[in-house]
Amino acid sequence: MSEPISGAARFIGQRVLRKEDLRLLTGRGSFVDDITVPGMLHAAFVRGEIACGKVISMDLSQAREVPGVIAVFAAEDLGAQNVHLANMHLSYSPGIISRPLSSDYVAYVGDPLAIVVAESRYIAEDAAALAVIEYEAEDPIITIADAIAGRPVHPGTENNLAAEVNAPPNDKIEGVFASAAHVVGATFKHQRIAQSTMETRGVVSTPGGDNQLTVHIGCQSTHVFAGVIAKNFGLDHTKVRVIAKDVGGGFGLKAQPWREECAAIAASLLLNRPVKWIEDRLEALTTSNAAREQEITIRMAFDGDARMVGLDAEYASNNGAHPHTPDAGMPVMMFLTGPYRPPSYRFRGRAWHTNTVGLGGYRAPWAIEAFAREVLLDKAARQIGIDAVELRRRNLLSGPDFPAANPIGIPIDDITPMECLDKLLTKIDVPAFRAEQAAAREDGLYLGLGIATYIEPTAMTGVMILNSDVAHIRIEHDGKVTANLSTHSQGHGVETTHAQVIADTLGVPIDDVTIFQEDSTRVGFGAGAAGSRQAVIAGGAAIRASKLLLEKVKQIAAHALNASAESITVENGIVRVAGAEEMSRTIREIAALAYGEPHRLPPGMEMGLEAQNRYAPPSFTTFASAAHACVVEVDGDTGFVTIKRWISSEDCGVQINPAVVEGQIAGGLAQAIGSVLLEEFTFDDRANPTAVTFKDYLLPAISDVPVIEFTHITTPAKGEGGFRGVGEGGIIIGVPTLVNAIADAMTPFGDLPEDLPLTPPKLLKLMQSKTAA
C-alpha cells in the first residue's frame, strides 16, 4: 500500500451522507428527459414487426401527412448519416455492420426501420403507427442451437458465428481427466436478461453553430459517448459535447450509444433542429440490448484428495442480431478458475447471431464463471462425499501460494477469499442449521444453505479507454474546492465518495468540495462507470492531484509565513505552522494570496491553486474477494423460494464509504436474486418478445430481497488509497450462492435443473418427479 493519506482520515471510511441525495429526494435532479431545448422536436420509431425477413416495401406517406410531423426518415433518407456504429472502445467491431436504421431486411422484432420526428411524442407515435410495411417473412433463428444449425441471420454472411475465443492449447488436459479420481460436469444455462434501468435510454441532440453538437444522453461516460458519436458521424471530437448529470441506472446498457440514440442524432443533424428521443418501457423491454443468455458445459477433474486438477469448459453466448460488440466470453475464459489453485485448463467460447435484439454488457458480463464454477463445486462435493466448504478450503489460493497466476497467466497475489470465508463462517452456525434443516424436512419444509466464494476483477486496464482516469482539482480564489473528474455516476455516488477522498487528502471540510463529472468538455478522457473502476483509478487520481495541490498550499504558506514547508499542516480548512498556532491561516486566505498577491508567492511559482493527475493503477486488475452465504426455504407445496437470511463477507480494500459499498453489493444481490428466481426475457416461436411489461418481466420487489447482513475485511490494495472495486461483486456471487442454497434444500429430490430462472413450477416439477418415482 502507498503511504497513508495525510492527516487523520476524517471522511474515508465514514458513512457520509450523499451529496447527490438532496437534489434527488426533492425532485431537483436533471435526467435526460428533464432537458428541454427551444425548438426541440420529438422522435418515435417505425419498427419491424417480424423477427426475420426481407422488407419488400415500406410506405411512409400517411405518416408524413400527419399534422405536426416534421420529417420521417427511413434508412435511405438518412443517407450517409445512417452511419456505421462504433463500439465503446472507439473502434469498429469485426463482423457485421450495425447502423441506426435497417433497410432491406429486419433481424429482430423491433428492428428500427424509420424515425418519425414531430412536434410531440404523442404525434410521433401516431404517425409511426401509420407506416405500412410488407415483408417476405422467414422462420426466425431464436436460440443458440438454431444459430448453429440454421441459415445466416445476416444475408450475405456464411454462418451465424459472431466471434470465438479459445484458451491457449492444452494437449495434457484429456490425460488429466482420464486419470482423475473424480470427474463432475454440468451444462448451465443463464437466461436472457432485460437490463431494466429504471430510467430508460434517452437523448436530446442539439446541433449548434460552428459544427458543434451538444448531446444530452443517458450514458456511463460522457467521454466515451463523445468519442463514439464523433467517430460515428465523422465529427471532430472536440466539437461534440456530451452532457449527463443524473442517469437512472446504466449496468452496461448505457456503455455506448447505439442504434436509436444515433438515429435521433442523425435526424437532428439532417434537420438542424434539436431532437429528443426517450425510450418507453415497451421499447426498453424489447429493443434495448439485452444481456446474458449464455450456456456453458463445464467439467472438473479432482484427484484423490479432492484437489481440482482439471477444468474444461465450452461456452456459447446468444449475441442477437446487433450486439454492442461481439462477445464470445473472453472475460469468462480469463476468470473461470476464480480464486482457486490453477488446474489444467481448456476453454472454448463461441458467440452466435440470432433473430433477437443484440447483446449488451450487463453488470459483470462474465459472471457465469462464478455461477458455473461454484454450483459445480457444490455438486462435486456431493459426488465426492466431502463438505462443500472443506472442498473450497482445499482448493482456494491463500498465503503460501502467492504470488500466483491463473491458468492463462493473470497474476493473482493479494486476494483474501479464504479470510472472507473464515469470517463468513463466524456469522452462521452451520451445525445448528443442519439440525434445523433435518428437523424441518420431517415437517415437509425444505431449508437450504448455500455458500460461494469468488474474486472480482476490478479496475481492469490494458486497453486504451480503461487504462487511466484524470482528476483536475482546484482550490478556487475563495477557498472552495472544485474537482473535475473523468468519472460518471449512474447512482454510484461519486460526487460524495470522491469528495471524501479529496477532503481528507487536502484537509478541507467535505462541504467545501464539489465534484463535476457531467460534461465531456470539462476534463480529459475517462471511461466512467465500466468494470468497477472509479474508486480505484479515479480515486487514485484524486488523491495524487490533491497531494500535488496540498504541497503547493504548503509551499505558499511556508513562504508567506516564513516557515518550513515540513512544519505546515492542513486540517479542516485551517493551515497551521507547527508550534505557532497564532500563525494559522485559512485555506481561503492562502487561496486569496495564490490568486491575488503574486509577489508573496515563492519566486517563480505559478499563480493559483490547481493540480492535475492522470492515474493508472499498478496492476492489470485489482481483485476484490468475498464469500457469501444464504439460507432459503422452498415451499413443498408451491415450489416458492423464500430467502430467510443472506450474509455478505467481502474485502474490497479500503472502503471510502461503507454505505456506498454496501449499496453496491446489495444492488448487485437484488439483480442476482432476479436472475435466479424471477427475471426472464422470453420469446414465442416467432421470436416475438413475450415479457414486454413489468407485469410479465418480473423485477425483484422489496418483498423478494431480504435484509442483507454485511461484514468486511480490509486488505488495502497496492494502488493509491488501497481501494478495490466493488461494483459487480454482488451480482457475481449472488447467483451461485442462491442456487447452491436451493440445491441444498432440494437434496432429497436430486439435482436441480441447470437452467435459470429456478421458477416455482420448475422446483415443483423436481419435487413431484421424486414423489412419483
Binding site: R15, L17, R18, E20, D21, L22, R23, L24, L25, T26, G27, R28, G29, F31, D33, T36, Y122, S196, T197, M198, E199, D246, V247, G248, G249, F251, D280, R281, K427, Q490, G491, H492, I647, S648, S649, A659, V660, E662, G663, A666, G667, G668, L669, A670, Q671, T693, F694, K695, L699, P700, A701, I702, S703, V705, V707, I708, E709, F710, T711, G730
Partner: protein, 162 residues
C-alpha cells in the same frame, strides 16, 4: 384532438391549462407544468416511480389523464419539503438511510411513504413494506428503503445482524 380546460392546484399553486383529452397526468405535470421531479419509468402502472398525491391519495400519474385531475389538489415530490428547504421526514429518513442510488424511482417512493405518514400517522413498518411492494428499484436492493421504513415506524427491528 379535443382540448379541454382544466384547473387544479399543484403543490398549493393554482394551475390552469388546456390539454388534450389523451394526455396523461404524468406527462402534463412534467412537460406542461414543469414538475420534472415526477419520473415516468414504465407508463403502465407497475413500477410506482410516477406516484404523486391527488386529493390525499397516492396515485400513479401514468394511469390518470390530466383531465381527470380537473379541480384536484395535487402534490408532487417538489412539494413535500418545507419552503425553507427542511426535508420532509420521509426524505430525511431516506437520506440518512442511504435509501437511493440513481434516484430515478425515488420520487415515487417518497410520495407513497409521505401519503402513508401524512397527518402524523404512524403506520406500522409492515404496512409501509407492503405498500412499497408496488415500487421497483433496480439499484439499492431496497436495503436503505427498509431502514428508512424502520426509522419512520420507530421500530428499528431490521438491520445487519452480522
Amino acid at each position: 384532438m379535443s382540448e379541454h380546460q382544466i384547473q387544479l392546484t399543484v403543490n398549493t399553486r393554482p394551475v390552469q391549462a388546456s390539454v388534450e383529452a389523451r394526455m396523461t397526468l404524468g406527462d402534463f405535470l412534467r412537460s406542461k407544468a414543469g414538475y420534472t421531479g415526477l419520473h415516468l419509468a414504465c407508463e403502465h402502472g407497475v413500477c410506482g416511480a410516477c406516484t404523486i398525491i391527488v386529493d390525499g391519495l397516492a396515485v400513479r400519474s401514468c394511469l390518470m389523464f390530466a383531465v381527470q385531475a380537473d379541480g384536484a389538489e395535487v402534490t408532487t415530490v417538489e412539494g413535500v419539503a418545507n419552503a425553507d428547504g427542511t426535508l420532509h421526514p420521509v426524505q430525511q429518513a431516506m437520506r440518512e438511510c442511504h435509501a437511493l442510488q440513481c434516484g430515478f424511482c425515488t420520487p415515487g417512493v417518497v410520495m407513497t411513504l409521505a401519503s402513508l405518514t401524512a397527518d402524523d400517522a404512524r403506520p406500522a413498518a409492515d404496512t409501509m413494506l407492503k405498500a412499497l411492494s408496488g415500487h421497483l428499484c433496480r439499484c439499492t436492493g431496497y436495503q436503505g428503503i427498509r431502514k428508512a421504513i424502520d426509522k419512520l415506524a420507530e421500530a428499528g427491528t431490521t438491520g445487519g445482524r452480522a
